[in-house]
């Protein structure tokens, strides 16, 4: 009996549906998530299954709607909020960072804010600079938030269900180019734990830590490099906050080389943290080469498709850079 396959978007939808079925406190909010089915058709038909009270279209008012979600969470409901594009979260940082992330702490632990926010992120759709950002690093910089970034349909469902269980605000970054990707997804409401990275491919010569769509590019690169005798270990980070430092440290101690591959702008993107974490850890002594970062260009995402591709790591670039890392000096 072959396992069931779903697309990433379908996996997210299934998680939402199962969470809503299991717990009547769970409800969805967002722009055009009702009859339109969401800009990326993630919520799809859920409004027909659960009604408009549980799949709520909001006006175009990101700050206010995010604040409504925070208030509802404080008062005992469990909102799952969809930003139509992660870029629009720039309008709601106040509520996310000053309120949701800090309320529990500021109130001495007297409340919690069980809020989930979903952010379709990343480039590759030709939507240019205001619809293509990868701002996950901002959120990973904020204590009080948890940040996950599933790379497969399986993890998209399992991490989202964990996020909805979680009593604290969890930010879920979904890469737009992954929505149509298919993969095995069990039917039951399983959980993938927040805070655990996954070794997606074992290897001996170099560790790549990648996030989101870069996991797939890293795996492709690893496959090709293996033909050259370079044995790449690929870690799917999955959670950006809290970081699973142990899994990465263990891997680097074994392989002695590290490359971080991520789509966000290179400077202060998540790879900066992984690199710095290793450079101050016990793994430092094991390093046989500088730590490589392949991140997004120091530029807004351009509209032109050739430039757009050039602005974020692609498989070829990963191969060339990792090859140099392993065979180069040192």
């Amino acid at each position: 009996m072959s396992a069931r396959e779903l697309s990433y978007a379908e996996a997210v939808r299934e998680a939402l549906a199962q969470a809503m079925e299991a717990d009547e406190r769970v409800f969805l909010m967002g722009e055009d998530i009702g009859v339109y089915g969401g800009a990326f058709q993630v919520t799809g038909d859920l409004v027909h299954r659960f009604g408009e009270d549980r799949v709520m279209d909001t006006p175009i008012a990101e700050l206010g709607a995010a604040g409504v979600a925070v208030g509802a969470a404080l008062a005992g409901s469990k909102p799952v909020f969809e930003f139509q594009f992660s870029d629009f979260a720039t309008l709601a940082m106040e509520q996310i960072v000053n309120q949701a992330a800090k309320i529990r702490f500021m109130l001495g632990g007297k409340v919690s804010v069980p809020l989930v926010m979903r952010f379709p992120a990343g480039s590759g759709t030709g939507a240019a600079a205001q619809h293509s950002q990868s701002l996950d690093a901002w959120f990973a910089h904020v204590p009080g938030l948890k940040v996950v970034q599933p790379a497969t349909p399986h993890d998209a469902k399992g991490l989202l269900l964990s996020a909805i269980d979680d009593p604290d605000p969890v930010m879920v970054f979904e890469h737009k180019l992954l929505y149509k990707m298919k993969g095995e997804v069990p039917e039951e409401a399983y959980r993938v734990p927040i805070g655990k990275a996954l070794v997606r491919r074992e290897g001996r010569h170099v560790t790549i830590v990648a996030t989101a769509i870069m996991v797939h590019r890293a795996l492709e690169a690893a496959e090709i490099l293996s033909g050259e005798g370079i044995d790449v270990e690929v870690i799917d980070l999955r959670t950006l906050r809290p970081l699973d430092t142990q899994t990465i440290i263990e891997s680097v101690k074994k392989t002695t080389r590290l490359a971080c591959v991520y789509e966000g702008v290179k400077t202060l993107g998540i790879g900066a943290e992984i690199s710095a974490m290793i450079a101050e850890s016990e793994a430092f002594d094991y390093l046989d080469a500088p730590i490589l970062r392949l991140g997004g260009a120091e530029a807004p995402i351009p509209y032109n498709p050739v430039l757009e591709k050039a602005a974020v790591p692609q498989t070829d670039g990963i191969i060339a850079s990792v090859r140099r890392l392993v065979t180069g000096r040192i």
């Binding site: 206010g64 309320i103 001495g108 948890k146 009593p167």
Partner: protein, 341 residues
Amino acid sequence: MTQVTQETVAVSNLRDFYRHFDTTALRDALRRMYLIRRFEEGAEEAYTRGLIHGTMHLSIGQEASAVGSCMDLRKTDYITSTHRGHGHCIAKGADPKLMFAEFFGKEEGYCRGRGGSMHIADVESGNLGANGIVGGGLPIAVGAALAIRKQKRDDVAVCFFGDGASNEGAFHEALNMAAIWKLPVLFICENNKYGMSVSTERSMAVRNVADRAPAYNMPGEIVDGNRIEDVSEAVMRATARARNGDGPSLIETKTYRIRGHSKSDRNRYRTKEEIEEWKARDPIGHFEANLEAFGILRKDEAEAIRVAAEVEIAAAVEFAKGGTDPLPADLMRDVYTKGAA
């Protein structure tokens, strides 16, 4: 001293307010007003003597707005408050001891000393918290009201905010959502004429914040915020509407903060005359005089309430001073619910 208008009326002509609430409730309202006043005076004193850290925003002069708004609320009704929130907190039922403990940064404080004046919350009595972000509480209150509706409760959420906050985008977004979804929320704008140093004349193109209510198809009522009966009656009407499923209301209480904006205020933007004029319209004096005039309270009883408030606040300060200091080792506590990070 405070001048007040003496109102002498036959009991049969008494306003709703004085008939709706029994003597105990009315006295308790006066007691809370005194508690707020003394609380803030005590806080100011402690601050001046260097016992309190940070800054604070005093609401002296605005007590009728806070107490009048909360008098008829239930414990399960929510409020969201502001940086100028001590009054709302006491009005909704908080214990000044635990508030002072918070000011002194003690573990016994409402926020275990982590929040201070700008974040005091008393969740058990329905106060979801002061807020350091102007306008921050507006959408949060709407969300609380949404949760109330989802949970099929007939409670309400009361959102306090200032005239200055009504210029934030959050105001617009929050009122619009409350209105389209007909949520049980009251927006109570305490218009004290200034957002920090900027007068409403300089920050809004309309005279009243309530003039913005029609943009949300919402009733917008203006009341004298220094008269507890005016505030309370308007709030009761709005609460009834909200509990009845008829949606949100905006109430603007015209009032005044006698003190400066905060401890950094050099008072360069308003006149001494203006301040004196408002001092003469003291909300406590007004209420007390009415209670006496209507035969609800004798002068000596009022005096006893005032003294009791003073004693309670003095004791609260002592309690707070004796509280437990948080340990640096506990810094990470409550960042997350399960201690995970």
